[in-house]
């Protein structure tokens, strides 16, 4: 007999399914799958309480490769399915697997409303800036002018700034990580899990078939720390091996040389400060600024959607439902025929 109070220990190996993983060899999705498998056993929740819900796209095959509960739903709607599940089963750990097309194009509406409502979901957005499953059309995160199968002369539309969009939707947790940095990913996933509210993690994920090397400037050893800045709570914003910092000139961030000035001038990262988070999200559109990785914003105080629902249900809970229902059938104006 299993003792229900005792959490059955499981390992990354136990999370493998009997399904052959069918992503292209070299796809960034493998690294993300492995990192998630590494993290789950460390969270202290039994395996049968994890649920992975995905939409449509390459990344959305993810649940088939994860031996937990899982649903491969329809295009763009995973957040909606997950919301219904989480409201009614708040004790489950519900993860949404989605991509740039799934979350930001066809599912854009559901994404912003999910973030605003704040159910305790962990949303992993695999951003490869391309449509992979349909074989290489531009996506809502492809850069302006991108040449793809559906834009042979280059796109004429600008991309989303995904984290700014999410912050604008009043998200309570936004973070960015990379497929090629397992350690960083795992830290972020753990934080996302522990955050009580909707966590949105944008993962730069390489599609080596249709958009290879899209994120090389952020992943190559030589340029990683020049083009990227790694955020730590209550630490100054320093990058380029400690030589450069970011300071605020009023509300305008600017890069400066630490050796010519002082580290004390640096803007200090505060993941609970929404104004600073907003400034960080705007680095995206400024080529002179490094790209922030880590947790840009975290607000642990906003109530979760499922608590709101279930508190109401508990508050108005009816003991004897059948009795109460039969009473409800008889309105004030019912009458008896003898």
């Amino acid at each position: 007999m299993h003792n229900t109070n005792e959490i059955e220990i499981f390992t990354a190996k136990d999370l493998e399914t009997n399904q052959e993983v069918r992503w292209c060899p070299g796809c960034g999705d493998y690294a993300i799958l492995n990192s998630v498998k590494k993290v789950l056993p460390e969270l202290g929740q039994p395996k049968h309480e994890f649920v992975f819900i995905s939409g449509i796209g390459c990344s959305s095959r993810f649940p088939y490769y994860m031996n937990t509960y899982g649903m491969h739903s329809i295009h763009g709607r995973a957040t909606a399915v997950a919301t219904g599940l989480k409201i009614t089963r708040p004790e489950l750990s519900v993860w949404v697997i989605t991509g740039d097309g799934d979350a930001l194009s066809i599912g854009g509406n559901h994404l912003i409303h999910t973030l605003r409502r704040n159910p305790d979901l962990n949303i992993l957005l695999f951003n490869n800036q391309i449509y992979g499953l349909t074989k290489g059309q531009f996506s809502p995160t492809s850069e302006l002018g991108k040449v793809t199968k559906s834009s042979p002369m280059g796109t004429v539309e600008s991309p989303f700034n995904p984290l700014a969009l999410c912050l604008g939707a009043n998200a309570t947790f936004i973070a960015r990580t990379l497929d090629k940095d397992a350690k960083h990913q795992q830290e972020i996933y753990k934080r996302a899990y522990h955050h009580k509210g909707a966590s949105l993690v944008e993962i730069y994920q390489n599609c080596n078939v249709f958009n290879d090397e899209a994120f090389d400037v952020f992943t190559d050893k030589e340029s990683k720390f020049i083009n990227g800045i790694y955020l730590e709570h209550q630490k100054p914003l320093i990058f380029n091996n400690g030589t450069k910092g970011i300071r605020l000139n009023g509300l305008i961030p600017e890069v400066f040389d630490i050796n010519e000035s002082s580290v004390n001038e640096c803007m200090v990262h505060d993941e609970n400060d929404k104004t600073k988070a907003y400034i960080l999200t705007q680095f995206f559109d400024d080529p002179s600024m490094p790209r922030p990785f880590g947790i840009l914003y975290c607000n642990p105080n906003k109530p979760t959607l499922e608590n709101g629902f279930n508190d109401q249900l508990k508050h108005y809970e009816i003991e004897d439902k059948k009795l109460a229902f039969n009473r409800l059938l008889k309105t004030k104006t019912s009458w008896e025929v003898k």
Binding site: I56, Y69, I74, A80, G84, L85, Q312, K321, L328, V337
Partner: protein, 618 residues
């Protein structure tokens, strides 16, 4: 008092006025009171799609029709005995359905030059002043002025005073039909609990109307309609949306599963959301989603977690939900979709009724995607049909669509209360946690119903994945195998057919297999068709009637009943949809009786169509 009493079997009254005049409230009060008195009654609210269409205009007219009597009342009535017209536009819109010599109660103030102009009636052709209404019993009353005088003592503003005029009219009609005012007085007191002056003014206006009837000499008769003979029990008045909500609630309680409604507001389905939102204490979640798609998807998520997932909408919203309904079919999860039909296509006629979503319900998804489709026949029938929809969805792990419509959703009738204990048990296919097995779970292993046993997330050792890609039978793994796909398509279809095992056998509503002509209807047309057939049988016609509530699968004996007839007619509020099913299934050359005007059938329309065909062919 010089008026005398006249006894009647049944009466049809139409209250009509501007949509800001409180017509719906007036009609509902009369209906409730009449039901309380013991008459049988059917009601039909008819209001504009605009919340406040321009005051006084024809598009702004709001109407409430009610038909009551001392015997079973099938429909709200074809034509009115009494037309209450609070303004010129209301008279203009409704006069054509007033019976010859019918009573008109007209508010003089609503026929001033301004109101005539708004109703597009030339000033020199005021119908109250010329002879155009000579064939009716016209009662011209300055309701506005009399109401204001009656409530003058309360020193309300001009607007507030005038707003009491619907109560004056109600009081007058109560007098005309010997009705007690007590119930309405109690209603006013409770509605304006916090505004004592307004409450007193409305009560005063109601009484003033009643006493006006008593003291004025303009009405020749007062009318008496005896109580209807009904079986004993406790009754209430109920409309379709209320009955639907209560049926869902009963199913949740009896199955001991939480109810989750994922929905988006849409006319005429929103009242289901409003009603269920009041009942959270019964373990009811109502999720007002960002759109129709999120509504159904959240319901699917809730079903996946072991709740009863329900989504409600009307035609345009159902169109948006179809991909997700296909997902639920593939996942073989329980899901109830409630479609309160309205006139289409596109935005169509939001507040008007139609039965034109049948083909959408049966075939409106990609791929071979059969659903269970059922249609309540009356307002109160929504209670049991909603309950049965949940029962079928849970016991067969299949989406079930209920086709209600604007007419049964908003119309009301007396209903003998069925307490929850009278409903059949529901056995869901969710695997209880204590029955979780040690062995590997096969999510697409089927039981005797061909439905799958569902291990909900959180069940130890039964982790598995499901999704919209084709499933391998038994294991549920993704499969692109051609033979497996064909097998799964057939299995999903067979499972829906299996539902015939728990739906009632079809019977004749009237007549039998030897009758000369069979008339078939489905859903909300039950009242009109039944009334027409009953009358025709009394007039000597040899007609049988079948009314179908289970549209997919059809009752297993339907073919057996239909095969006896060479002469068949199908009556429906669309351009001919169910008739195609009859032709397809039974190779019968049926004749259609169709109406696509956003209004229910009149009894005489059906009678005329039947007689015409009967005389030529039967």
């Amino acid at each position: 008092m010089n008026n005398s009493n006249k006894k009647l079997r049944d009466v049809v009254i139409k209250f009509a006025g501007d949509s800001g005049d409180g017509i719906q409230l007036t009609g509902n009060q009369f209906a409730e009171n009449t039901a309380l008195f013991g008459n049988d009654i059917a009601t039909f609210p008819d209001f504009p799609a605009e919340i406040r269409a321009p005051i006084g205009t024809v598009p702004g007219v709001s109407g409430f029709q009610l038909h009551f009597g001392d015997q079973h009342i099938f429909t709200p009535g074809d034509e009115y005995d009494v037309l209450v017209a609070l303004n010129a536009a209301a008279l203009k819109t409704n006069l054509k359905l007033l019976k010859p010599n019918g009573i008109i109660i007209a508010n003089i103030n609503g026929f001033d030059n301004k109101n005539l102009r708004l109703a597009n009636i030339p000033e020199d052709q005021n119908p109250l002043e010329n002879d155009s209404l000579n064939s009716f019993q016209l009662h011209k009353i300055d309701v506005t002025k009399l109401t204001k005088l009656a409530v003058a003592e309360f020193n309300l503003g001009n607007k507030e005073s005038e707003r009491c005029k619907n109560m004056f009219v109600l009081g007058l009609v109560y007098w005309l039909y010997h009705r007690s005012m007590d119930n309405t007085i109690a209603f006013i007191e409770s509605r304006f609990k916090k505004e004592a002056l307004i409450a007193q003014a409305n009560i005063k206006a109601l009484k003033a109307g009643y006493h006006f009837g008593e003291t004025t000499e303009s009405f020749t008769y007062q009318y008496e309609i005896a109580k209807a003979q009904t079986s004993s029990g406790i009754y209430r008045s109920i409309n379709g949306n209320q009955a639907m909500s209560l049926g869902f609630l009963a199913a949740s309680i009896n199955s001991d599963l939480p109810l989750f409604l994922g929905t988006y507001p849409i006319t005429p389905a929103s009242d289901i959301l409003h009603e269920l939102s009041k009942h959270k204490g019964f373990d009811v979640y109502t999720f007002q989603a960002e759109d129709e798609i999120a509504g159904v998807c959240a319901a699917i998520g809730a079903s996946y977690g072991g709740s009863i997932g329900i989504t409600s909408s009307s035609g345009p919203g159902i169109a948006l939900k179809m991909e997700a309904i296909g997902l639920a079919t593939m996942l073989e999860l329980p899901l109830v979709i409630c479609n309160v039909q309205r006139g289409g296509p596109s935005t169509g006629l939001p507040t008007k009724t139609e039965q034109a979503d049948l083909m959408q319900a049966l075939y409106g998804r990609n791929g071979e995607c059969p659903l269970v489709v059922i249609a309540p026949a009356t307002h109160s029938d929504c209670y049991e049909m909603a309950y049965n929809a949940v029962k079928i969805a849970l016991e067969y792990t299949v989406p079930v669509m209920i086709l209600s419509d604007g007419f049964i959703a908003n119309g009301a009738e007396p209903w003998r209360i069925h307490e929850i204990e009278s409903l059949p048990p529901i056995n869901s296919n969710f695997i209880p946690k204590n029955r979780a097995t040690e062995s590997e779970h096969s999510p697409y292993l089927r039981n005797a119903n061909l439905s799958r046993n569902i291990a909900v997330p959180g069940t130890p050792r039964m982790e598995h994945r499901i999704g919209g890609l084709e499933k391998e039978n038994i294991s549920g793994n993704i499969s692109y195998d051609p033979i497996n796909h064909e097998l799964m398509v057939k299995l999903r279809s067979e499972k829906v057919e299996k539902v015939t095992e728990i739906i009632p056998l079809q019977s004749f509503q009237n007549g039998n297999k030897n009758s000369k002509l069979l008339i078939i209807g489905w859903g909300s047309t039950f009242g009109s068709i039944s009334a027409a057939v009953n009358e025709l049988i009394l007039e000597g016609y040899d007609i049988a009637q079948i009314h179908i509530k289970y549209l997919n699968p059809l009752p297993s004996n339907l073919g057996e009943l239909v095969k006896h007839f060479d002469k068949l007619m199908v009556a429906e509020l669309n351009n001919g949809q169910f008739i195609k099913i009859i032709r397809d299934r039974f190779l019968k050359n049926a004749i259609g009786i169709n109406k696509i005007q956003g209004q229910p059938f009149m009894v005489k329309e059906i009678k005329e169509a039947i007689i015409k065909y009967y005389l030529l062919n039967a």
